[in-house]
Symmetry: C2
Subunit: 216 residues, 2 copies
């Protein structure tokens, strides 16, 4: 499959490395801490102890046929900047770095990181959204202003058919699936005469502004 290097084995780096390996990629894990290397060596292709601030040592393991390098060195800002620079000079095409704040992320982008990740911030925003709309199970933003939302059916929908609810004409949203929570089944692109049962969840796609009217 793909060839990846993961540098820094904190919670994020460790999980990226083992997830990539589980999906049958080749994974080289690098960390300065031998304990971390010991814990991960059976769950990746190869794991080596390297201090990545030493360019010589790092270059021994980096070739330009690596598909991507993922760097997550926690609050070691200097180390993450140097590593990004070295990886760029060693020809790595795609460098993904976990940043600890916006300034850090901006610097990394200027140095050559292709993508900056803020795991805590991204999960935080997701959680806040789920908590704000109580029957909202998931809100998945898509292209441009579209989203998919999963909404538990309000009581006044139960027993009505999709046709009677007239969601497309009333709210300009499309029901792409109806989930039966108890039976854990999904009915894709349901017919207009399908009746809503209690304990069902509607998966609806539409523009953000229309979904917000529909959610309330």
């Amino acid at each position: 499959m793909g060839q990846f290097v993961v540098i820094g084995l904190g919670n994020f780096g460790h999980n990226v490395a083992i997830s990539l390996f589980e999906q049958r990629n080749q994974v080289l894990a690098i960390d300065a801490n031998s304990k971390k290397i010991e814990q991960i060596k059976d769950k990746v292709t190869q794991a080596v102890v390297v201090n990545v601030k030493e360019k010589e040592a790092l270059s021994e393991f980096i070739s330009n046929d690596i598909d991507a390098a993922i760097v997550s060195l926690g609050d070691k800002i200097e180390a993450s900047i140097l590593t990004t620079l070295y990886l760029k000079e060693l020809g790595v095409k795609k460098i993904i770095v976990k940043a600890i704040n916006d300034d850090h992320g901006q610097i990394l982008k200027l140095i050559g990181a292709m993508e900056i990740i803020y795991p805590e911030k991204e999960e935080a925003v997701r959680l806040a959204r789920r908590l704000t709309v109580p029957n909202l199970i998931e809100h998945i933003p898509l292209a441009s202003e579209y989203s998919i939302v999963e909404i538990a059916v309000p009581d006044n929908f139960v027993g009505k058919s999709l046709k009677e609810l007239r969601l497309r004409s009333k709210y300009n949203v499309e029901v792409i699936a109806v989930k039966d929570v108890l039976q854990d089944t999904l009915h894709l692109i349901p017919e207009a005469d399908v009746k809503i049962k209690p304990d069902s969840v509607l998966m609806v796609i539409g523009k953000e502004v229309d979904i917000n009217k529909f959610k309330v």
Copy 2:
């Protein structure tokens, strides 16, 4: 809207608090560190310095009409366990805690936390999936074994109609939308005779096992 208490203002807690407030909820932010309180006080309803291990001090701010409490105290495992216990005793219905590993999470669940969050692990799994399937833009797991995937169209699809591609009969997946990346538009539940253009992205829904055959 909702009433929330956020305890612990690391990266995750801080972002949950301000996101909840931006979505027009009432947010009380708590931290033992006055600097953190200073930085956040204009971005939430109220922010107070409290050492949450002191039950008396904490109870002053907790009532049972809070919708949810979000606890993220980093590696202070003892503090997070005590806080969860106190919040439960003070009648908070929904306690969500950021855990640093599985054992920590298990303990919190036994104490009474309703939901455990592992932000770094969840983002890591998402990233690993995006990197493994190069034309996969997003993979959204749904109920039971279903997922939605966004896939950039392979070259051999271009110019064909959805009907000709026979995705439903060949792979048992449904195309719920076609995204035009250049024009940034989304065509929902397209007709079978719609032709695939280059630079389009298919949004496909189906069972995991069928999607995996389709992705390759």
